[in-house]
Subunit: 154 residues, 4 copies
């Protein structure tokens, strides 16, 4: 089986990191991309807290969580200032990229590259930089833990 | 014991209702005021869903839930447009007043009148229009149900 | 409306109380009967913890919780010795009556008097000793709190 | 690092399986032993439902869950007849061994071989039959999923 290579993240800005993260530089590590919107209920109440739990669970492993704020609706309200307040109030600790707005589409650049259908979405990238799993919706903690564990064991 | 009379709500605007609600016109009913901010984590994940559950639980009783968006921080981000998106996305059904901004204070007018300390806050008003309970923080479903039930039985 | 009077409890034995409780002696208080079986999953995981929470919530009120071990199946396994271990291990604190086995029926005496359909069942008795509510199955914390609160306010 | 080999299960009886399971015959598969007692609260409410969820999560993998009823207290009450009622009422589907009572100790034979400290305990055995993890207490779903996932990837 041949897996697609994970595209680079096109970010308008980064939060919670001094320097931008690059998929190329993360080769050798398992990467989880958590695509969310700050006013998406399933993100706020379930997927984003779960993403934080994944980061805690694998803190001692070759693992990197990256949040991706993929605003494809209500762009004016979910702007970078609003996101910064949201991230501070909800005490999110992990690096977050603000997905680069596209010129001719409401769907931002990285979201389009990843062919995501909505938020929340979870993308798992293996140590070689290939996308091994991409899912729109909610996953159980056990299922998500199992997949990350399997990729870490490779 | 003498209870304070519930002050009127000073609203910049109302959501989810055709006409403004008035404490005076609600005499005879038990009223619960749910003071919240759209980016307050304890509101979003716990108190606001609980408020919706209270409205459902007492839908057939002389009971009225009123949301009160008491923005006392990050005013620019938690503006009326943002609130409307939040209310639509989270499918909140109950009437919500946007608390009137004060001229010389970050604390809005009704929040000051009610002497609330923060969000989420719960205020219970009896059938005679008196404030019987005011609490900053989280309550258990059972405790909140019990208090509303007791006021309805009066 | 006329409500039925709560029948007395016929108990083979009592746990967690020095002397048997009597419905007559409890006049003036609101009483909740929690009918359960120690190997009934919905009891063990939901209704019995909820009953303990009710007792805590109304500890300062004129309220009494009574557990009723209404064994109507697997009598040999859910015997008094087993119940005592269960109550100790699960740290149940409230008074529990072992419902008196019937001579010609698997359904014990008090369960038959109360016309309960199964476990868990919740029976609420008002201050005058009348049954105001009887339910087979699970209730929400809010709904149960509301009903107890209403009866306490009478 | 050298891991201990998983000992065979000494069972007085098996439930939910036509023939006894053997650690030797399970070589090549990842095995999770779930040690529990039917009246242990943390087992009943948390660890045993979690064990069922693990079996569901890895149903399509080279994975086997085995329950181990390690009665080390209240032996008379937690007898095989009581366990059968418990397993039927709680609808447990996975194979369960009743740990062989010891002659001179309250601790049964397999529990002693595995040097378990109490219930619930979780033991993970890799494809080569070695014990890779043994834990007394509760694990998060994510942590447990991750460990099983890692062992499956070996």
């Amino acid at each position: 089986m041949k897996y697609p290579s994970a595209p680079e993240i096109a970010a308008a800005a980064w939060l919670n990191t001094d320097s931008p993260l690059s998929m190329r530089a993360l080769r050798g590590r398992v990467v989880m991309l958590h695509a969310f919107q700050m006013l998406c209920p399933a993100c706020v109440t379930r997927a984003t807290p779960q993403a934080s739990a994944v980061a805690d669970c694998f803190a001692d492993e070759d693992f990197q969580l990256i949040g991706l704020h993929t605003v494809f609706e209500h762009h004016r309200v979910m702007n970078p200032d609003a996101l910064r307040v949201y991230v501070a109030e909800f005490q999110l600790q992990f690096p977050i990229a603000i997905d680069q707005p596209a010129e001719n589409s409401p769907v931002p650049v990285t979201m389009a590259r990843l062919e995501l259908q909505g938020t929340p979405s979870t993308v798992l990238v293996d140590r070689t930089g290939n996308i091994r799993f991409s899912h729109f919706g909610i996953l159980s903690d056990m299922q998500l833990g199992a997949m990350v564990g399997q990729l870490l064991a490779e």
